[in-house]
């Protein structure tokens, strides 16, 4: 077994025992990226030089016996939505093509403090808006299990690079399912923490009340290790919650006794791929065989999840993305063209407004523009009450559904997606079909609870199937332990896509 096929936890043990150096490990991943990322397209930028320099520095530090961070020497891939000082951070958008933030996101600071090696930036849907990574302004990412298919999104690069052994650990973000859905479609583990568990400072906002940063890895253990580093209160983010971070990596292997899992019957039947249903049902049986009790529960308002989400998220996005106006940083249209255009069309629109209009039309892709317009419309006078305010009310009802459910069960178990990875281009002209990709995941974001996706089987066509577990706020520790119970009893996570 090559070193890159080992789990991060195994690699860490080898690093600590001196059998492996961070430079060797980093180089092995760089080689793998070099070999196969041409087929996958997971990375927007690979930071070869700085990664090797960082790795050498950490090896040096280890050799001197200095205290080391929790990820000392482990390479980590970062979704290109997390600000990194003096390094391009594009958010998958032309708008930020030449943008280099003058500061680090809090999670980037935490990764550096944990002595992680930053391997590169992964591809994503523009401003995290999408479910297939096809909305990236720069490139598509292919699903490592079938390169004619999408990897999911928006953290498609983050999931694909882990799945194809191009990074042991990767950081993504999840606003409506953007970690869990690509993790499911690429056959890796992805966790969306409770809203407020991880600081959003430096995460380029899509929908502030829904966005969370979370870990992706091949195993639950590795996911626990990375979450432990990412999580924690941050005075720079007033929505981050001041709760101590449990030592997830130390407890992850302790099975839960008397586990009660809730099953929502409406998750199955109509609309779900039968092979996915079968895999998820089989996973439920695995839990039963491990001693879990299964309860059937109702989530009366879950059907409104997508509608609610596609009001709230675009509303927040329309405001969050107003700052990309060409005036201060990022893309600005050609000034001479503005002047020439105005002279030609004789419009009474001032040059400033025309500059805004052109910069935003040229800098943003189609899906981002669609959502800005949806949100602007829904917040407008006369529509606010019918759309935004109503969506907030439904959001509260969805949270109440969860609260009621978690009084009866420890966790909710079900599918992550209704279908396996679809073909590139299949849904690009049908936004509604694309939005329905989030069917099983958005409610966790609306309610602010935690959710994890883990591999639970394959379709007959060899595509990965994901299992979702959802837990009450700040119950990540139990969520990881429950997920690890399943992973210890199954071997889906050990399979590898075949890429030449």
């Amino acid at each position: 077994m090559s070193i890159i096929q080992k789990t991060a936890s195994e690699q860490l043990a080898l690093l600590n025992s001196g059998e492996l150096t961070s430079v060797e490990l980093t180089q092995a991943y760089l080689n793998q990226i070099e070999q196969i990322d041409g087929q996958v397209g997971a990375f927007l930028r690979v930071e070869t030089e700085s990664a090797l320099a960082q790795a050498a520095a950490i090896d040096q530090k280890r050799a001197t016996g200095a205290p080391l961070g929790k990820l000392a020497g482990l390479p980590v891939a970062i979704k290109d939505i997390l600000c990194t000082k003096d390094t391009p951070t594009t958010c998958g958008s032309r708008m930020l093509e030449n943008f280099e933030p003058p500061y680090n996101a809090t999670v980037v600071e935490k990764l550096l403090a944990a002595d992680a090696v930053i391997l590169g930036r992964t591809n994503m849907d523009e401003f995290a808006m999408g479910s297939s990574t096809e909305n990236s302004a720069y490139q598509t990412t292919q699903n490592p299990w079938d390169t004619t298919r999408i990897p999911g999104g928006s953290s498609g690069g983050a999931a694909a690079c882990v799945s194809a052994d191009m990074a042991p650990l990767s950081v993504g973000t999840d606003t409506g399912g953007s970690i869990r859905q690509p993790a499911a479609l690429c056959g890796c583990v992805g966790l969306k923490p409770t809203y407020g568990r991880v600081s959003r400072y430096g995460l380029i906002a899509f929908a502030s009340s829904l966005d969370q940063i979370g870990p992706l890895a091949r195993t639950v253990e590795d996911t626990a290790l990375l979450l432990e580093v990412l999580a924690g209160h941050d005075p720079l983010d007033s929505t981050s919650v001041n709760q101590p971070t449990p030592a997830y990596s130390e407890t992850v292997n302790q099975p839960l006794e008397n586990l009660t899992l809730g099953v929502v019957d409406r998750h199955f039947g109509e609309g779900i791929d039968p092979e996915i249903e079968a895999a998820v049902q089989a996973a439920i049986q695995v839990y039963e065989s491990l001693g879990a009790t299964i309860k059937h529960i109702e989530m009366p308002h879950a059907d409104y999840g997508i509608a609610t989400y596609y009001i709230i998220a675009p509303c927040e996005a329309s405001s969050n993305l107003a700052r990309y106006d060409g005036a201060h940083y990022g893309y600005r249209t050609d000034q001479a063209e503005v002047v020439a255009e105005l002279a030609e069309d004789g419009s009474d629109e001032g040059p400033l407004v025309r500059m805004y209009r052109k910069s935003r039309s040229e800098g943003f892709g189609e899906e981002v523009q669609r959502r800005i317009m949806l949100g602007t419309y829904a917040l407008s006078e006369g529509y606010y009450d019918a759309f935004y305010l109503k969506a907030l009310k439904v959001r509260r009802l969805i949270r109440q559904d969860y609260d009621a459910a978690f009084e009866q069960v420890d966790m909710i178990i079900g599918p992550v997606t209704a279908n396996p990875a679809f073909a590139q281009g299949e849904k690009t002209s049908d936004p509604m079909a694309m939005y329905l990709e989030d069917l099983y995941t958005v409610t966790a974001n609306l309610a602010g609870i935690a959710g994890i996706s883990l591999p639970c089987g394959f379709t007959s066509g060899g595509l990965p199937v994901g299992l979702q577990l959802q837990a009450a706020p700040f119950q990540e520790e139990k969520l990881l332990r429950a997920a690890q119970m399943y992973q210890a009893a199954t071997d889906f996570h050990t399979r590898r896509p075949e890429l030449s």
Partner: protein, 490 residues
């Protein structure tokens, strides 16, 4: 056309920059006048991924002000985004408060000492917090279309105080602004510098005109750009006349025209149309998801209430009722600010004569402060030293004109009043000697005696002049009194 009487209806929106060291949502400093864009950070620049964190000090200064304005403080308040595009607004929205402001329903009482208007209680709709925008500097030099943006001010905490349309004259609006500024100064919550923009006023103005067919209202105009109390007064006066003339000309009433924004041009002394506003602007307010709501306890509100010292209106009453000062004197002293009030209180206590202290503070002390353009903190005679001087007046050792000479000398020396008296060679004249001197003068001046006897009391002034020649230390009042007594007894 015939003329009709009208009433001016005025509501004011006042923006107060709160005196915090750092901005409302980041740790940048708030100082005025530094080089452009040197007081900025990713948060106030609206950089991607940056997040606001509320400055608690700003919230509590806002609360202190709101309490002093008799506002109620809701236990729950939240932040909203006001969305619009402008280059000096880097996020594309202003973080403000929309439907649940941090305070509401208060009032401020105004009075005129010159009887310009009846005392009035101006009700306050709300006072809410928001962040200031940056400054656009338009380069209007020929051939240049550049605008430059300074974001130093971006994110400075503002308290917006919105009054009901309760004022009925430009003088009332000016008095409201002056009283509000005085209050803010007593509260120590703002620099209140209208020139630097730390106190800004927009006025909503229209007229209620009594016509033959009843009362009509003219369209409401918002006046901006009034950077002094005088321009508030003049801007409103101008606007009232303008609206009346426009109504005479067009007959347009409220509702028939969109709300207009006009800027006060101080050099031309006119208001000019800026834009037809608000009707088309939709700010798409919604709760800011990056900031948690503020929840405050009764105890916290009480603590802030404790911080508030005695306020101008209460002090004026106390100076009248307890210290026996006239309304006018109390007003003059209180309006100079808390430091002068404290000086007065110390002086009155030490001198033992409230009225005399009042006269001196309001007279000589203020005259020097104005002449030298200094604050009472820099006034060279502290209350203790001045009290000694006032005591010399009370004992009759000094007459008021001598006292002024001593006062003038004390301004440039550190000596006590008594020492200055000695240095100037002022001596109290013995009463017996004074009477003897008067007797001699009366005997020497039969013509003056006759004049006085025939009813011209003023003629005795010539005796005072002679007395002063004989002895410069004599008290003219005493000379006058004694001479008159002697003459009358002849």
């Amino acid at each position: 056309m015939s003329e009709f009487s009208y009433e001016i209806v005025i509501g004011l929106e006042v923006h107060v920059q709160l005196k915090t060291k750092t901005k409302l949502f980041c740790r940048c400093r708030t100082e005025f006048g530094n080089p452009p864009n040197t007081q900025t950070c990713p948060v106030c620049l609206g950089m991607p991924g940056s997040l606001p964190v509320m400055n608690k000090k700003a919230y509590f200064l806002g609360m202190r002000t709101a309490l002093a304005l008799n506002c109620g403080i809701p236990k729950f308040t939240k932040w909203d985004r006001k969305n619009y595009f402008y280059p000096d607004l880097p996020k594309g929205y202003q973080t403000s408060q929309f439907d649940l402001p941090m305070s509401e329903e208060g009032y401020l009482d105004i009075k005129s000492t010159k009887d310009e208007f009846e005392p009035r209680r101006v009700r306050i709709i709300r006072a809410h917090l928001e962040e200031d925008a940056g400054k656009s500097m338009h380069d209007e030099a020929a051939g240049k279309g550049d605008s430059r943006i300074d974001l130093n001010r971006t994110g400075t905490p503002l308290l917006e105080i919105v009054s009901y349309p309760d004022m009925r004259s430009a003088a009332e609006a000016k008095a409201y602004m002056q009283e509000l500024r005085l209050l803010l100064t007593y509260l120590d919550v703002s620099d209140c510098n209208m020139q630097e923009g730390s106190l800004r006023c927009d006025a909503n103005v229209n007229l209620h005109i009594t016509t033959d067919d009843g009362v009509i209202a003219t369209p409401i105009v918002e006046i901006k750009n009034m950077n002094s109390f005088r321009s508030v007064e003049r801007g409103i006066e101008y606007e009232a006349k303008r609206q009346y003339d426009v109504w005479q000309e067009t007959g347009k009433v409220l509702g028939e025209l969109p709300k207009q924004t006009r800027g006060w041009d101080d050099s031309a002394q006119v208001t000019r149309s800026q834009r037809e506003k608000e009707e088309s602007a939709d700010y798409r307010y919604f709760p800011c998801p990056d900031l948690v709501p503020v929840i405050v306890t009764d105890q916290q509100i009480d603590e802030v209430r404790q911080e508030i010292g005695e306020l101008p209106s209460a002090l004026r009453e106390r100076l009248q009722n307890e210290f026996g000062l006239t309304i006018y004197s109390a007003d003059v002293i209180v309006n100079q600010g808390l430091s002068l009030v404290e000086y007065y209180l110390e002086l009155a206590a030490a001198a033992g004569d409230n009225k005399l202290a009042g006269n001196w503070v309001q007279g000589e002390v203020l005259r020097i402060l104005n002449d030298q353009e200094i604050e009472i903190e820099d006034f060279p005679i502290d209350a203790g030293r001045l009290a000694e001087l006032l005591q010399l007046i009370q004992t009759g050792d000094l007459d008021s004109s001598k006292a002024k000479d001593v006062f003038a000398a004390m301004l440039t020396s550190e000596s006590s009043a008594a020492d200055v008296v000695k240095e100037l060679g002022i001596e109290k004249v013995d009463e017996g000697a004074l009477e003897a001197l008067c007797q001699v003068l009366v005997e020497r001046n039969q013509r003056i005696v006759d004049d006085v006897k025939s009813g011209n009391e003023k003629a005795v002034g010539a005796l005072i002049g002679q007395a002063k020649k004989e002895n410069p230390n004599v008290n003219p009042g005493q000379v006058r009194q004694i001479c008159l007594e002697i003459i009358n007894n002849l």
